[in-house]
């Protein structure tokens, strides 16, 4: 058993990951982020728009975990905990706002809110 393997084992990782493997994960992450972005830009239902932001959070989380695995430490995972926290907080706040907005206008169409028009 080599020193590196022992160190890795002690750190809790089975083996180092190749950079190209990392690339695969990152491309999946980028595609998922793109999906979320496109969804946010095209869908008009406020709830689905927020769902798309969750998708983008997911993509970021995946990238973080992949980097964490690649760099052989757990900081990325700690960050994902943050992503989860923010997502939960955002869900609580944003959805409360969505309900308020819905009650006021009886619609979830994002285009019906245009008070900021210059």
């Amino acid at each position: 058993m080599t020193d590196l393997a022992i160190t890795l084992a002690q750190a809790g990782f089975p083996a180092p990951m190749a950079q190209t493997t990392l690339m695969h994960y990152l491309v999946v992450s980028a595609l998922m982020f793109g999906m979320g972005l496109i969804g946010f830009l095209t869908r008009r239902n406020l709830i689905i728009m927020f769902l798309c932001t969750e998708l983008m959070f997911q993509a970021a989380g995946l990238a973080l975990i992949a980097f964490s695995r690649y760099h052989l430490n757990h900081t990325g995972e700690a960050f994902v905990i943050f992503v989860l926290t923010i997502a939960a907080a955002e869900a609580a706040m944003a959805l409360a706002l969505v309900v308020l907005l819905f009650r006021r206008k009886e619609t979830l169409d994002a285009s019906s809110w245009m008070q900021l028009k210059g």
Binding site: M1, L4, I6, T7, L8, A9, Q10, A11, G12, F13, P14, Q19, T20, T21, M23, H24, Y25, L26, V27, M32, G34, M35, L37, I38, G39, L41, T42, R43, R44, N45, I47, L51, L55, Q58, G61, I65, S68, R69, Y70, L72, N73, H74, E77, A78, V80, L84, T85, A87, A88, A89, A92, M93, L95, A96, V99, R104, E106, L108, D109, S111
Partner: protein, 390 residues
């Protein structure tokens, strides 16, 4: 060859994906969603092919990666293209579950479980509740009707171009190779295990490296750390063992009897990272959650005034509900009675109130209260009366 093919494949994959997504999005007129989905799957295949070509045999991920990422991306495409919010949310759960699979592949088991519990278990349930609360009441004749804003997406072309330009930009970074992200075996994670002497001692004892009447030395005895499994100078890790009266012995990780199961589990690693390396972060997360809770409470008790558009919508729906009430087969047994409904038909035209309405389930309830007053509870917001009665 390699340097040439990969970018071309990557970019063509991105273009294919863009076309696919663009077609898959709900739109006016002809909506070839199936073709879009197929194109998207093709694009995924092309991208993976490009990456695989670049990686060569040694750097390929295993089959499960392809499976999970395909499911995740397919589900996310469905999230953004499905016209019904409930189904979008359910597909999002599928995305989450397959992402959790990817996390497991990345040996982040704890995060995978946390993801499923928090996201699929908590956040998505909240979404489903809100979808239930904030959905337009279907009219009686069109129970399954979709809102206009759910049926058609907005400018899918522009959004897709922007989105996939971004994807292409990011992936081309990978195609050309990124400097400065070389993997470095980080000793700090390994060093964490040195902070768990009891575990180290138990493991060494069961491996037979520490016998009876022996124990890990006291640091005051040795003047150096008694356990240092990942010294910074790269030398093999060691454990100093004390036995007899003041005698010590050093065991290094090179020892053939060194226990193989002495390793940090994923949850321990995350725990060390979170509580030892970034101790303030968990406090911050707590504060964020507290603020979100306060904000939600404040928002929840806010009184909402219907504006003109909202009033019109409410009135329109309540009218159509009443008009269709007498011959609707959906009228349930809890309706107070036929004559009352007929009266109610005439009243709301004059008044502003919404004396009759349908619940989201299409059941007509609470047409008028017994004395015919028009303080009917409003059906959508959990039987809560809303402003607008003047």
């Amino acid at each position: 060859m390699d340097g040439l093919i990969s970018p071309i494949l990557l970019y063509s994959g991105c273009v294919l994906g863009a076309i696919g997504v663009c077609l898959a999005l709900p739109r006016r007129g002809l909506s070839p969603q199936v073709i879009g989905a197929l194109l998207f799957a093709l694009a995924f295949g092309v991208l993976m092919l490009a990456l695989g070509l670049k990686a060569g045999r040694g750097g390929l991920p295993n089959f499960n990666f392809y499976l999970f990422s395909f499911i995740a991306l397919g589900a996310s495409l469905r999230v953004i293209s499905h016209p019904r919010p409930v189904y979008a949310a359910l597909y999002f759960i599928l995305t989450i579950l397959s992402s959790a699979g990817l996390y497991v592949l990345l040996s982040a088991e704890f995060m995978a479980f946390a993801l499923v519990i928090v996201y699929a278990g908590a956040i998505l349930i909240t979404y489903l509740f809100v979808i239930m609360l904030a959905t337009e009441t279907p009219t009686a004749d069109q129970v399954e009707a979709l809102s206009e804003y759910d049926r058609y997406s907005r400018e899918p072309l522009v959004a897709t171009v922007v989105g996939f330009l971004l994807v292409a930009g990011v992936t081309s970074l990978m195609a050309t190779g990124v400097r400065g992200i070389a993997a470095a075996p980080v000793a700090s994670a390994a060093a964490n295990i040195s902070d768990m002497p009891v575990r180290v001692e138990t493991a060494l004892r069961s491996a037979g490296l520490i016998g009876e009447n022996e124990h890990i030395a006291n640091e005051t005895q040795t003047q150096v750390p008694a356990i240092n499994l990942a010294p910074e100078d790269g030398s093999p890790g060691y454990v100093i063992i004390a036995y007899g009266e003041g005698r010590t012995q050093r065991i290094t990780t090179n020892d053939p009897r060194w226990p193989k199961d002495l390793q940090l589990s994923n949850i321990e690693g995350v725990g060390f990272s979170l509580l030892k390396d970034q101790p303030g972060s968990i406090e911050l997360a707590g504060v964020v959650l507290l603020m979100a809770m306060l904000g939600a409470v404040v928002l929840a008790q806010k009184k909402v005034e219907l504006d003109e558009q909202g009033k019109l919508a409410a009135q329109r729906r309540s009218l159509s509900a009443v008009l269709s009430a007498d011959n609707s087969p959906l009228m349930g047994p809890e309706t107070p009675g036929g004559p009352n409904v007929r009266e109610a038909e005439l009243k709301p035209r004059a008044g502003m109130g919404a004396p009759a309405a349908l619940t989201p389930h299409g059941r007509a309830v609470n047409i008028t209260s017994a004395n015919g007053s028009n303080d009917a509870a409003y059906p959508i917001t959990g039987q809560k009366k809303i402003g607008g009665h003047k």
